[in-house]
């Protein structure tokens, strides 16, 4: 499902025009990104939580060439699904 399909899906469920949903989505993504950028973690109940994690610098050695490379630290977005979502995804049939 791509962005367009998502918008149409949401629009059909909310009974709203697509362009309005699109605007809402843009507003949402913008706030979402800004908050994440400010190192805030965001939790959505029943779905999961997003947070920024710092991956520490590390030394990697190429197994063949034995070239040692220092990998710098970096910040990544991590998503952890909530147990509710997990249960929903793993419904027993």
């Amino acid at each position: 499902m791509n962005n367009k399909e998502l918008i149409s899906n949401v629009a059909s469920k909310m009974n709203l025009p697509k362009n309005e949903v699109k605007y809402l989505l843009e507003a949402f993504t913008e706030t979402f990104r800004n908050q994440l950028k400010e190192d805030n973690s965001i939790g959505f109940q029943g779905f999961g939580s997003f947070e920024i994690r710092k991956k520490e610098e590390r030394l990697s050695v190429h197994p063949l060439t034995k070239v040692r490379t220092m990998i710098p630290p970096k910040l990544v977005v991590s998503f952890k699904q909530s147990s509710v979502l997990k249960d929903k995804l793993n419904v027993k049939f």
Binding site: N3, L25, A27, K37, M70, V77
Partner: protein, 618 residues
């Protein structure tokens, strides 16, 4: 605002802020948005959101684990997991603080390290190989060192021997000087001064009886010397009531480093005084039968000893100064002299000692023979007693000599026999070296012995380990039918008895039979499952094909692995003509499969499914 935990409602508020959006619509939007994603994930779809990233559901395989508390093995069922993969755009945005950092190749290290690692690897192996050889090499080195030492000792021994002659010469030149003393006095002086040497020689003789085959010392004389030395020791120790050898040993250890010069001067002064008149006496005394005659004299001498010791002390002190001068002159000359006179001197001197000691012969003969160690101890006692008579400084100086001589007896026994007591006396300018060399030698010999022991232990342990390995290998074999056959062979070779062979044979045959049976029973079963025509009579359920539905998803859902979609396809052959293009809206029968056929954990099953898949997708 950093590090805060935001909830959906807070996000909504931020969303609404500064935007033409009602809070209500925003709230509803967020709710619907996630529910849509959820539904999509439930259907196994991936959801791509512009500016955020991709949500998808990931299948995590079932895996085995262990209950930490009980140690029980448990199986964690496979499950779907919603994962979020952020867009590159978002990733870069988030990583902005560290975006300037780039991976750095550690060049200087990277050049060296691989080589080092390789070197290490190379070094490890040779080291391993050389380990068993290491003790041998060390031992060889030690052997060489010992050889060198021995040669050194030999080279030293000759100058020492020569020194005797200078002594005698010097003594002869100085003979007239100390003539004031009576014969008795001289013998008295001799006894204190000669005792250490004679005693040490006694110790030598006792400790190394095999080596004593020099012409000067016939067997009888040697034994007599023993007695004499011991007697002297006994005599003096009893007379002066001095403490046991332990104290003497301690003293020697403490004082061995001190006052070598004094020792030199003292002994030499004594020599200069004593020897001239002593020699004639000694020559007479060398014959054994005469010794008995002199016993009475000695008794008298002994009685007088105590009285005259004080006098001697005084004289010795005065003589020291003279002696110092002498030693300086002599030390240069000594090395050039011949050895010839030494032997002559040796015998007479020893005999004088014999005279002194003969008093107690009857009492001590047996003890001496039986207890060589006692003698050596008493040597030290004697040394002490002698020294007790002299001034304190002189006491100390004599002890190192005795100690050195005793120590030397062990290391170079041959030379000891040939060296005379007077020559020993002269040797004390070597005291430092000699004192150290035995210790050095002992340590080296000790190290060599240790090396040998370790070497032996190493191979002993290695043998044991090898045996254990063999045993373990045998045990391992024992678990298989192969082992049964092997043990049969082994037992055949090992046990000649026919009965045991027969029994082992039967056991082996049984074992092989059983294993073969099990293999056979398994093989056809497995073969049946894969080869037998599959009939899909029992159904778990039916699924309706909708947009996004895939056979692989059904397979994953019901059989635990997408590869098993082929069986669903087989069960729905009539409805599905092309597995790549399943018509929508039809009901898919999900057949019940044999657990052995569709076991996601079995590689065999998966491979078979893949084989079928490649057939159907041609």
């Amino acid at each position: 605002m950093s590090n805060a935990k935001l909830s959906a409602s807070e996000i909504v508020e931020l969303m609404v802020k500064d935007r033409m959006i009602t809070k209500k619509s925003a709230e509803e939007f967020v709710k619907v948005f996630f529910s849509v994603i959820e539904d999509a994930l439930k259907d196994g779809e991936t959801v791509k959101i512009k500016g955020l990233g991709t949500f998808k559901s990931q299948w995590n395989e079932a895996r085995k684990s262990v209950n930490v508390n009980t140690g029980e093995e448990i199986v964690i069922d496979g499950y779907y997991k919603a994962v979020f993969i952020p867009e590159n755009d978002l990733r870069e945005l988030i990583n902005e603080p560290f975006s300037h950092l780039e991976p750095v190749e550690l060049n200087p290290l990277s050049d060296n390290l691989p080589e080092q690692m390789q070197d290490d690897a190379e070094e490890d192996e040779p080291e391993n190989f050389s380990e068993p050889l290491e003790p041998l090499r060390v031992f060889g080195e030690q052997a060489e060192e010992i050889k060198e030492l021995l040669s050194e000792i030999n080279s030293f021994s000759t100058p020492k021997v020569r020194s005797n002659d200078t002594v005698t010469e010097n003594e002869s030149s100085q003979l007239p000087d100390p003539d004031e003393k009576t014969e008795e006095e001289i013998t008295l002086e001799n006894t204190p001064m000669d005792k250490p040497e004679s005693v040490s020689e006694v110790a030598e003789i006792i400790s190394a009886p095999e080596t004593l085959h020099t012409p000067e010392h016939t067997g009888n004389k040697e034994t007599e010397f023993n007695f004499d030395g011991f007697d002297i020791v006994r005599e003096i120790s009893t007379r002066f009531g001095l403490p046991a050898g332990a104290a003497a040993v301690a003293l020697i250890n403490e004082e061995s480093d001190q006052l070598p010069a004094e020792a030199e001067s003292e002994t030499e002064s004594n020599i200069s005084e004593v020897l001239p008149e002593e020699i004639p006496e000694n020559t007479v005394a060398a014959e054994k039968h005469e010794i008995d005659d002199r016993e009475s004299e000695d008794d008298n001498n002994d009685d007088e000893k105590q009285e005259k010791f004080e006098e001697i002390d005084n004289e010795d002190e005065t003589d020291e100064d003279e002696a110092d001068d002498e030693t300086d002159e002599e030390s240069d000359e000594e090395s050039d002299e011949d050895e010839t006179d030494e032997d002559e001197q040796l015998i007479p001197e020893d005999d004088t000692e014999a005279e002194d000691g003969d008093d107690n012969d009857e009492d001590t003969d047996e003890t001496v023979v039986e207890l060589p160690e006692v003698v050596t101890q008493t040597d030290e006692e004697a040394a002490e007693t002698i020294e007790a008579d002299n001034t304190a400084a002189k006491e100390k100086s004599v002890e190192p000599l005795v100690a050195v001589k005793n120590a030397r007896t062990v290391t170079d026994k041959k030379k000891i026999v040939s060296t005379s007591s007077s020559h020993k006396r002269r040797r004390h300018y070597h005291v430092e070296e000699k004192k150290k060399r035995p210790v050095w030698l002992y340590t080296l010999l000790g190290i060599a012995a240790l090396g040998l022991v370790f070497f032996g232990a190493f191979y002993f342990v290695k043998n044991i380990l090898d045996k254990q390995k063999d045993a373990m290998y045998m045990e391992y074999l024992a678990d298989s039918t192969v082992r049964a056959l092997n043990t049969k062979e082994v037992l055949d070779s090992m046990t000649p008895a026919g009965d045991t062979i027969a029994t082992t044979d039967t056991v082996a045959v049984k074992a092989t039979d059983e294993s073969v049976q099990t293999v056979i029973s398994e093989a056809p079963a497995a073969g049946n499952i894969f080869d037998a025509p599959r009939t899909y009579t029992e159904l778990i359920t039916t699924e309706k094909m909708v947009a996004g539905s895939q056979l692989t998803k059904f397979a994953r859902k019901y059989y635990g692995h997408p590869h098993f979609w082929v069986y669903i396809y087989e069960a729905n052959r009539e409805a599905i003509k092309d597995p790549n293009n399943v018509p929508l809206g039809i009901n898919i029968k999900i057949p019940k499969l044999d657990a052995r056929l569709a076991d996601p954990a079995s590689r065999e099953c998966l491979n078979y499914a893949l084989k079928l898949q490649s057939e159907y997708l041609k």
